[in-house]
Symmetry: C2
Subunit: 373 residues, 2 copies
């Protein structure tokens, strides 16, 4: 399922290909997020135009709305959303913890209330597999117990135990009901910010033998140092011959940290979320187009970018449209940011093959300064 | 500037071509509205894809935001907005009356406050010509005094006098400062719902000799009967050899009324505004995709439509996206509605050439029933 094509000599960075039912995915890869189906503001042909080979959707959201009855009737998520490339879906665990007003960990799953209408639901290790079977996910994630910063070692250890128990049950259920040629399943390593627990969780998860391994519970509010420390400790614990996925990351800076540690796959709403606020990536850092200083600026969002938006619209025009609340502006900034992430990942991959990853990374980060409004 | 190509034998309907600086426009035509530059949710290439030859922008909005300094610096509206086909701009009069919190008719123009920041402004017959010169409008409109329903004959007569006085001054100023090869100017016939005043206004406006004539102050809340009565009375008063433009209309039904009366040009925010509310045109009438009954509907918005959205997405999917508040849904419904209007106008034009306009109209209106939620 995974071909490791090149290992960097100075870091843990690596380039490879994940072979999935809807095509190959070249890594390191950033997966754009389409929570409810579409990447926000996009139509599927635009995601293809940018040449993304995989996107992520949220099982939690789709399970609640439109609901599985609709998606099953419509032939699964690929058909429903008009997307014929790969889809990874999360299990919903993280969303339950972050969005649901009330949630209760039970022995065999999580009871929670919908953030949409307050209705009561229960997701178990087994039924998240069934949910993702119906969605038709190319990669499905197990149900895990994700924890916030500043909990005790004891609490974190309990969550690791829960995660391991659910992982084993998820894998068993997967073996019974899923066609493994069509749908792959990833386990998730937890352990909060405790290295012994990260190690324990990694061992327990690897022992179950998943198709790939994710690192969960990072980038949830901890400092950049703690993030980098735990990430660079945990990632090399994972098997070399399987894809490694850092959930919910991120920014260009964090992606360099991840690639350096040996991560292959990333996803985050960050590029599209900031775009809807007028913030766009450039090779000199992030800028916010609502800034007064762009009022008469003829230049494109990113002079080094060759995306359609940068070739056709000035900063001054996009700023005007943002100020006027025009949806067209959100399309321009979102498209550019997703295009930018795709190009960034391609450049990272090329630099790994060329043996110049460290130079490319250091040069990039030296130039990259985020603008504040 | 206008070639009359075909006159219907049973009605006042006509087909022609308006020759403008940024290309020919075949009539009858519906002009999509891009208030602040873009047609809402669109990028310019999509408007081209639909093959629209002209769009409308609002001088009032652009004058207030981003302001003329920005648009002048950016080389005019075509260059600013990345649109190289025709643009018609209104004078701002209608918006001042409908949006501005405070407005005062003076002898030589209108004093008003911005609906954005409350700042005070003054637009005169002359400076709306200057505003539209800077915008670079292919067709500019004169400043007029638009009136609401239920005013007295005396009040309406006063507004007609004001409109005539401003029209004469606008035309004089146009002759001094505008290159007539690049920018055309239309006069506006007012007169509220009084036929004698409509006739007086038409005569006075025609006497000034504009490049085309608009009918203003209709579709502002009057009954359909009054609308049709005043329109079919006024339109034939206008010269046959000049384009006739019915401002702010409209719906497919009203467009048939207009074409029947001899109107060549239409504009309205209606198709895009209802689209953002989930309402779309079909050849059987308007439907609202938020309706529960479309929850499991595999069929496209309009089974008779061949637009990209109808070829790729089901009612069920678009309904889901509308419910989830996804911008992508607004793109789907807006695109379809503008595409639908374009195809409708093409079919009307063809039927005029074929001598089957009345049959086409009657057949269309018989089938067309609007769904209520």
């Amino acid at each position: 399922m995974f071909t490791l094509e090149k290992k960097d000599e100075k870091t843990f960075a690596r380039a490879g290909t994940v072979h999935l039912y809807h095509g190959d995915v070249q890594t390191p890869v950033f997966m754009p997020v389409g929570t409810n189906g579409p990447v926000k503001t996009f139509l599927p042909y635009e995601i293809k135009e940018i040449n993304a080979q995989i996107m992520l959707s949220n099982a939690y959201h789709l399970y609640l709305r439109p609901g599985l009855e609709v998606i099953e009737e419509m032939g699964g998520l690929h058909s429903f959303a008009g997307w014929d490339r790969n889809i990874l879906t999360d299990s919903g665990g993280f969303q339950i913890f972050s969005l649901s007003s009330l949630n209760k960990i039970k022995n065999d799953g999580i009871e929670f209330r919908s953030h949409i209408d307050g209705s009561k639901h229960f997701l178990s290790a087994e039924n998240v597999v069934d949910v993702q079977r119906i969605l038709g996910s190319d990669i499905m994630m197990v149900l895990d117990h994700c924890t916030p910063p500043q909990i005790t070692h004891n609490e974190a250890a309990k969550a690791v135990d829960t995660t391991a128990r659910w992982a084993a049950r998820s894998r068993e259920h997967y073996a019974k009901v899923i066609n493994p040629e069509k749908q792959k399943q990833f386990g998730i390593v937890q352990g909060n910010f405790f290295k012994d627990l990260r190690e324990k969780s990694a061992k327990e998860t690897i022992a179950i033998d998943f198709d790939g391994y994710a690192i969960g519970g990072l980038s949830v509010g901890e400092s950049k140092d703690v993030f980098a420390d735990i990430l660079s400790y945990t990632t090399p614990l994972l098997p070399e011959n399987k894809p490694r996925y850092l959930m919910g990351v991120g920014t260009p800076e964090d992606i360099f940290t991840g690639v350096t540690a040996g991560v292959d796959m990333f996803d985050c709403v960050f590029p599209t979320r900031i775009a809807r606020n007028g913030s766009v990536f450039t090779n000199r850092g992030r800028i916010n187009l609502r800034n007064e200083k762009y009022r008469l600026d003829h230049s494109p969002m990113d002079p080094e970018c060759d995306c359609y938006m940068c070739k056709n619209f000035s900063k001054a025009y996009i700023r005007h449209l943002l100020k006027a609340g025009e949806i067209s502006a959100l399309r321009m900034t979102s498209y550019h940011n997703i295009y930018y992430m795709k190009k960034l990942m391609e450049k990272i991959r090329t630099s790994i093959f060329d043996g110049t990853f460290v130079e490319y990374r250091n040069d990039f980060l030296r130039k990259y300064k985020n603008e504040t409004l």
